[in-house]
Structure formats: C-alpha cells, structure tokens
Assembly symmetry: C2
Homo-oligomer: 391 residues x 2
C-alpha cells in the first residue's frame, strides 16, 4: 500500500457519533426516540408514484419550489418573513452550516462561536481552517458584552474581524440555554456594526416544553445579517436528511453553488413537502415535544438522585443537558469509566473550541425510555463513586 499523501484537514478525525460499545445505554446522542418515528408510507407512496417524474429525476440545486414555499409558510408562523428566493434546501442543518462556511471562510479567517458549542459543527468548521473566537455564556446566552470588547480590541489593533458567528439561541447544544431577547438584539447590532454574518442554528425551537418563546434572530433581522438554518431531523425524522437555510438571496444562491452532491434528494423533499402541506408536521411536533418533556423530567430527577454532586441545568426545551462536575473531576475520565458501567455519556471536552475546563458532561435524553434513562443515570452514579473511591 502506498503511503498516502493526505491533506492536513483529513487528520481532523473525531470519534464518530455512530460508534458505540455494544450493550451500553446511550445518554450521549441526539437520535430520535424510536416510538415517535413517523409512519410516512402514504407520503412515500405518493412521492414514488404520482410524483415520479419529479422525485426520481435530478432536482433543482436550490430545492423543490413547493418545499421552499412550505418552509416559508412554516417559518411565517414563527415570525420569520421571507420568500422562496431566500430559501435553500439542504441535507439537514449541519450541511447548511457547512455551506455557509464554504461560502465565507478562507483558511485562517476568524469565526465567533460560544464556548462550549455544538461539537460536530465545531469539527466540520475546523476542516475549513476556521480560527475560533470563543465567547463564554451565562444564563442569558452568549456574553455579548465580552464579544463587543473583543471586537473593539481587534478593530483598535487593525486586526481582521470575524466573518461569521455560529450559535444555537434556543435550547443551545450542549448547554440547553435559551438566549435572552436583549442579547439577541445586541448580537444583531454587533453583526451590523462589525460586518459579520450570524448563523442561527435552529433545530429545536419548536420543541419547547414550557415558558414563552423568544423571537428568533432571523425574525429580528432587518439588514440581512442572519442566516437561519433548520432541519426536520428533530421534529420529524433524522433519516429524511432534509433541512434548509434562510438568508439573503445572494448568500443562499452562492451556498447552492458550493453543494458537492448534485442537490438534495427530490424524492425525500417531496415527502417533506406533503408532510408540511397536510399539517402532519405540526401535529407530529406536538407528539415529539410531549415525549421529550417526559424524557427531560426523568433525566433531571435521575441525575439529582444518582449524581447529586453535579450542577445540572434544566432546559426549557430541546434534546440536551449539560452538567458541571465538581472542580477537579475529569469529564473525560468519568465518561470512560461510565462505559465500563454500561452507559455512554459525552465528555464536555469536544464542545470547547479551545481551553476545556475539564469537568463537564453532555447528555441527551432523546433516544431511550424514561426507565432506561433512570437505569443509565444509576450506572453513571456507580461509575462516579467507583472513580471517587479509586482517587
């Protein structure tokens, strides 16, 4: 075998979220709960039959017009005013984020992210050579005061300003934090003033268990600085691989040209169109939301019982939980020990663009039943005691 001359970016190999030890309880992945996977046989039949000429042929790079119109209506219910020209259909939200990065970033360009942030997107952004400007969070979301000072310092020193910002304002992955209205307004003001584009990652917004919804960044955007990315993965089914990006036409058009796969699948686009048009999507969102609320409650209670030393933040929606371990307790070590005890949780390390504090864990409660969540937490608790005992 030849000694292959790989590119530097191909050395960036994270652990695949699909590799798991057999027999362990997964409290680590944001997969769909199998009990709420939708039955789409009628829509699939229609797409493969009545719509065969469209669904089996090459589709337009921007996506099917019918689906783009359905996305416009879906977002209008949530206060986002846009037209078909602002909608690009993608293979999910992560794909949309990657296309924004391909459209704006040169290797070495600065990009703002929260610390911590969504680990898989972080990994994908690294392949574009992004130079991260990491901004901490508190209960109101990204610390825009700190961001402002950092940007002012860059300006004063004549240094290159960031081109992009990535954040998850609703039920942040991994922390579960929802950004306050004031911070959202400030973020847009900063984007306008310092000339960067905001990627608003919105997979979970409709999965709100309680409390009042806060306007999305895109609905507050008057100058075109926000690209909102969404997906049906968390509200319908991850296997469909359909998402979207909403932004200025000039941006989404260029993003389309960065697609490397001939455009998203028209067959699954047709299925999603039907599900949106019939109202089945809205109905399904209610089912998923009610189910995820049960899971969150079970997880919060079980962690309080079995891992009382951890500070756990209670999210008002979404799929994820974030826990701070006592100082000096290693998230990496506990995650490794947990697998020995039959449960997989995420170490917080992968979520930090730079300096990992070392003592965080990421959980997802989406995939398994409340009873299994409780059993997983019990196993985690025994791993924790095991580790404390050894130390």
């Amino acid at each position: 075998m030849t000694d292959f001359r790989f590119a530097r970016r191909s050395q960036i190999i994270g652990k695949s979220v699909y590799d798991h030890a057999p027999g362990v309880i997964l409290l680590s992945v944001g997969s769909a709960y199998p009990g709420t996977l939708p039955n789409l046989t009628a829509e699939a039949d229609e797409a493969a039959g009545q719509f065969v000429a469209q669904s089996m042929q090459y589709g337009p790079l921007m996506g099917l017009d019918d689906l783009r119109d359905s996305v416009v209506s879906y977002l209008a219910e949530d206060g986002v005013v846009c037209s078909r020209d602002n909608v690009l259909i993608t293979n999910g939200a992560k794909h949309a984020t990657d296309l924004v990065a391909r459209t704006f970033l040169e290797p070495g360009d600065r990009m703002i992210v929260s610390a911590p942030t969504y680990m898989t997107t972080l990994q994908s952004l690294r392949t574009h050579g992004a130079n991260f400007l990491a901004i901490p969070q508190d209960d109101e979301g990204m610390r825009t005061d700190i961001l402002e000072r950092r940007l002012e310092t860059l300006a004063a020193n004549g240094e290159q300003q960031p081109k992009l910002l990535f954040d998850v304002p609703d039920f942040h992955n991994p922390t579960g934090i929802t950004m306050s209205l004031k911070r959202r307004e400030k973020l847009i003001e900063l984007a306008e003033r310092f000339d960067f584009v905001i990627i608003e990652d919105d997979p979970y917004r409709r999965i709100r268990f309680e409390g009042e919804s806060i306007p999305s960044l895109k609905s507050l955007d008057r100058s075109g600085v926000v690209v909102m990315v969404g997906t049906v993965s968390k509200i319908l089914a991850p296997g469909i691989r359909i998402g979207w990006a909403i932004g200025e036409h000039e941006i989404v058009r260029r993003m389309a040209m960065q697609k490397s796969d001939g455009g998203s699948c028209p067959f699954t686009q047709r299925i999603v169109t039907s599900v949106m048009q019939s109202g089945k999507l809205i109905e399904h969102i209610g089912v998923v939301r009610d189910r995820m609320r049960l899971h969150r409650d079970a997880m919060i209670e079980a962690l309080a019982e079995h891992l009382p030393d951890a500070k756990v933040r209670r999210p008002e929606g979404g799929y994820f939980l974030w826990a701070e371990l006592p100082e000096g307790v290693s998230g990496d070590a506990l995650a490794a020990k947990a697998v020995e005890h039959g449960v997989e949780v995420g170490s917080g390390r992968l979520c930090f663009p730079e300096d990992d504090p070392g003592n965080f864990l990421r959980f997802s409660y989406s995939l398994v039943e409340p009873d299994t969540i409780r059993e997983g937490a019990r196993r985690l608790g025994s791993a924790y005691r095991d580790m404390a005992h050894a130390a």
Copy 2:
C-alpha cells in the same frame, strides 16, 4: 444590505445545469429519460414501513451495512474484488469525488485531469484550489505518454507531484471515449511510481451498447491507488441521490469524516438495497441501455444530416456525444444561437481545465425521445446555417 465578505471560492459560479430557457429542446443535460424512470413504490413502502426504525433514524456515516454489501456484490460481477470496509456510501459519484478531493488536496496542489473533462466536477475541484495538470486524449483515452513525460519533468525539476488524477475511463464525459487496456495499465503504473491516487469515475460502465467491456481500473489495481466512484443516477434514477466510493479503508474512512451532512439518507439507501438485492437493478440497467442505444443512434444520424460539417465521435455506450466544429467556428456562439432556434446544446468550453480550442460542442441524448432529438438537431442545423450566413 451588508456588503458581504464572501470567500474567493464562492466567486466560482458556473451556470447551473438546471437553468434553461423555457420551451427549448434540451440536448445538453444527462438527465434520465422519463419513460424509463423506475416504479419504486413497493421498495419505498417497505423502507418506510417494515424498516422504519432504520430508515427514519440517523444512519452510520459509512452507509448501511446491507447496502455496502450489495455494492460489493454488484461490483464483483464486474471483476472488482473488495469488502464492506472498502465501501463508502455517498450522495452520488460527484459527491464521492468531492470527498476524495477534500481528503487529499491542499489549495494549490496539483491534480491531473483529461482535457476536456466532466465540467461539473471541474467546477467543484476549483473550489478546492486544485492546480490542474491537463492531459490531452486520443481514441484510446488519456495520452499516458504525455502524462509520463510531464511527471518526469516535474520530478527532474524537483517540483511538487500531483496528488490526484480524475478520469472517466468508460464512455468518457464529454467525449464518449473508452480508454484502452494498455493505457489503463500504464496509468496504474504511473500512479504507483509517482505516488498519486486515481479517481475512476464510473457512472456509465454498465450502459454499453456494443463491443467488449474493458476491465475497470479498480479491477486492475493491486496496490490500492484507485478510488472508484459510482452512482445509481445513470442506471436507476438520479433522484435517489445514492452513490459510492471504493478504495483502501484508510482512504474511505477519512472521506467519511469529510462529510458535512450527517451521512447519506438511510431511507433512500434502504430502497437502493432492496432494488439491488432483488435483481431489479440489473433488469433495469438492460431497459436503460436499450433505450439509450436508440437515442444515440437517432442523435448520430440526425447530426450527420443536419450538422454535416461537424466531426462526431460515436460512443459505444454512456450518455454523451462530443462534436468538433470546423476550425474557427465558435462553440460558444453556436450554443447561444441554438437557444434562439429552440435547442440547448453545451459549448465545449466549460469542459476544458485551461485553453479551450473554442470549436467543440457537448451533447447528451438521454433526456428526450428520438423524434425530439431529430427535431433538436434540425434546429441546431438551422442555427449553424444562420451563423454561417451572418459571417
């Protein structure tokens, strides 16, 4: 609206193959003939019903094991010996090529391509900053003697050697040429000697109308220097968006990590698995092949009648035709004039990585009926006479 700071690569905006003047006959795009689009309602029903837990959930980055095994069997019939570990499922062949490029190329790296070559891949490779080493072709395919001399000169001068080679050995897009066995063997020898990886683009191999099949590069590869990329787009349906890459495990594993979309759709993967396992794919290939032979014959005859000044190469298979116009006749000008006359053909210009000779046209005969092909050729003939008259 902000004056957006786009990346250089986002300036590379070709004409989308999906934008067409209304009412024109398309002799320009390799879309499927609507009359042979498959009825996949049974397979879709099975995927959405019986296999719901797999098809609606996140799938493995490498692709479904069942599909990877089916691809192994499909390729074994054609002399390619590989195992599941060598198979990566992608969103079509172009996507697979892009992933190879992401895995190997740094901006500015050299890459070998034939001149002319597949225009859409050329455009995608440009976004990676590839520095093309363009090698001419003759009736036996890429001129490996010229390539060898170029590589030897680079070596003698201590210059960087190319990392990749991209070619379409069977029914080359756009020329229709099939590479001889001698050239294939020489190409592999050069890859081994000069340490580059060959991307063998194989969308059309099974669409052979006549003559003996020549072993694929991958079936001749003993040292792992070939990555073969394939797709169901030209043998089943473009709308399914499923393809594959076959290569050393270390290569395809790194390619998987370059995916930006969470992996290919498990729902359509399940459908393709069924179509492969049942033998329906092989049956369908026969139907498409017989239909495309009729189209090629109609196109060759019609061009001989209506554009007798052009030298047209008769391909033994595939979807494309290449025509040389008399010296001094502009392919760009004729393609533009043709639209006025109600037919769209491709100017050869987009297929050349560098110096375009200027007098070539690319045709595809796949999409429209033989009668429509004849009418399109008639319109092209009148555009040609119109242009000659004006000159």
